[in-house]
């Protein structure tokens, strides 16, 4: 489904952040990526999304056999990729619901589907907002405008639920969430997940993985995946940190 091969990327000053990432994600799988701060986790999500601050130095990223790196940013999203960044951008003045409707209908146009009308969209929106226990105020607000960290993350998952991507890359979705919000967001992700879809979670803590069971756990350090394992790896990392991996080599 998503195939990342030897992906290398650098920032404007030439510093290489990703130094050869390899990752295979199949339908129905949940991958957790963990690693110390500055190891390249957020960079990986932004490079896949096509953020202009990064330059791809080599490698490939394919979604269902199509090279994402050759696509425009919006085409990557419309092909089924969803990226949630650690700090969702605030866009005051752009209404949350209008933005969601525009995004959904852009995807539908890309896929050759007719535009979704107001009534049908309203129903869809209500259903997904109920799933995430979001109140009506979200409709009137600007995109992430003035929202707390937890509200922003919930808003991101609402977008994911409406856009229905094949692969979701969620960067520290659990940061800024209180205990109840974490449960609601995690339940939302589990509800959206299906055997045809995949999720990649970037997290520092086991607590999110208590709700969303990972198929694989990877450790990213110095721009490379240095260790992969099952769910038990996350528990060991939580208990022992990252240094033991280097020492064992």
């Amino acid at each position: 489904m998503l195939s990342i091969k030897n992906l290398k990327a650098s920032i404007e000053d030439g510093t290489q952040i990703l130094k050869g990432i390899n990752l295979e994600v199949k339908p129905g799988e949940v991958h957790a990526i963990m690693g110390p701060n500055g190891s390249g986790k957020s960079t990986l999500s932004k490079v896949i999304a096509g953020h202009p601050a990064y330059r791809v130095d080599g490698g490939s990223v394919e979604l269902d056999g199509k090279n994402l790196l050759e696509m425009e940013i919006n085409e990557r999203a419309n092909s089924g990729l969803f990226i949630s960044t650690q700090y969702p951008t605030e866009i005051p003045g752009v209404n949350n619901v209008e933005f969601l409707k525009m995004a959904l209908n852009s995807k539908r146009a890309f896929l050759g589907l007719p535009e979704m009308g107001d009534a049908e969209f309203k129903q869809l929106c209500e259903e997904k907002m109920n799933l995430l226990e979001m109140d009506e105020r979200y409709r009137e607000r600007g995109v992430n405008d003035g929202m707390s960290g937890g509200e922003k993350k919930r808003n991101e998952i609402l977008q994911m639920a409406i856009l229905d991507p094949k692969v979701s890359f969620l960067d520290e979705t659990d940061s800024g969430l209180d205990i109840d919000a974490l449960r609601i967001v995690a339940n939302g992700i589990n509800h959206i997940m299906s055997p045809e879809k995949a999720v990649i979670l970037v997290t520092h803590y086991q607590r999110l993985l208590d709700y969303i069971k990972p198929t694989y756990v990877h450790v990213l350090r110095h721009g490379k995946i240095i260790l992969s394992g099952g769910p038990e790896l996350a528990l060991k990392l939580e208990d022992q940190g990252y240094d033991w991996i280097e020492e064992a080599k």
Binding site: P52, N74, T89, G93, F99, M102, A103, Q159, L163
Partner: protein, 348 residues
Amino acid sequence: MNAEFIQNLPTAEQAIARLRELGMPKRNNELWSFFPVAKIPTPEFMGTDFAAASTASQASPAENAAATQESDFAALLPIANNARPMVREIVAGAAEMSMLKCNNDFGHTVLDIGKGAKVSLEILDNKVTHDIAAERFDINIGEDADVEIFFANPACDLPLRFRHFNINQAAGSTVRFSSICKDTAIGRVSVECHLKGEGANFDYRSLHILDGEASQHSRLTIYHEAPRTTSTQLARNLLSGSARVSYDGSVIVGYDCTGVNSSQLVNTILMSEDASVSVKPVLKIYHDDVECTHGNTVGELDAEQMFYLVSRGIPKKAAQEMLMRSFAQETFLPLPDTPAKKRLMSEV
């Protein structure tokens, strides 16, 4: 009707004499430092020898008192061109919605708004038959009156247009002055606002959405002449092509005007290499206990916001339009829910 207010207006003869004295606008005159003055045609009444003509004026110094205080060419031009003043009184306590439209190239409107009146005033484009249009508005506002003045006309390709406003505000009055300009040629809006009574408030909001060769200029002078008067200026510009905007905003706080609060902010987004903006804030403060701020930002559309929208599948052009629209709408969002806000937001 406020008799003093009417009597102080210059006559056509006085306006011509003053214009001859002033001469045609030049770039070294601070009122016109950003304006393409070479595009202003010389009116016939100016003659060829301005100084000699001025000396020959028959008006006595007393008769010329009001006219000689006026130094803005655009303010004098309609009167010098014999624009017959449309004089109107809105009585104390009245509630009124009006639309103003001049029927000639040169227009002069005189409004006397009574104490406690609530007025919504939309200014429509005048009917123009020549290459230049100039309008002047003298507006006297009584105590505790609440007035909104706004214009959001369709893009106009008139080669040259001036609009000048003289506004006098009594104690406790509020004026919200809001405009959208999409004109494609050369224009200038000038406002002189005198906050004469304690607690008077003047709120100015303008939005320029320009493309091509458009060249639009704003000049504001706000005189805080009483304690605890407040003023806000917010000018936003979205400029494409070779469009050019200037904003020349002065705030003058008089002696003993304690507790004055004034802010000025100009935000510009340049959508092309050749678009440009010039901003000149001027603060003249003659009292200590005041708060006056000014700021100016110039940039492009926010790259992170663009990325966010596009990363959700929205095409780049549509994302740009969303961000431009939000930038434009924010200009008027703080306004109360009145006819002005409805009209301005719909035009954005």
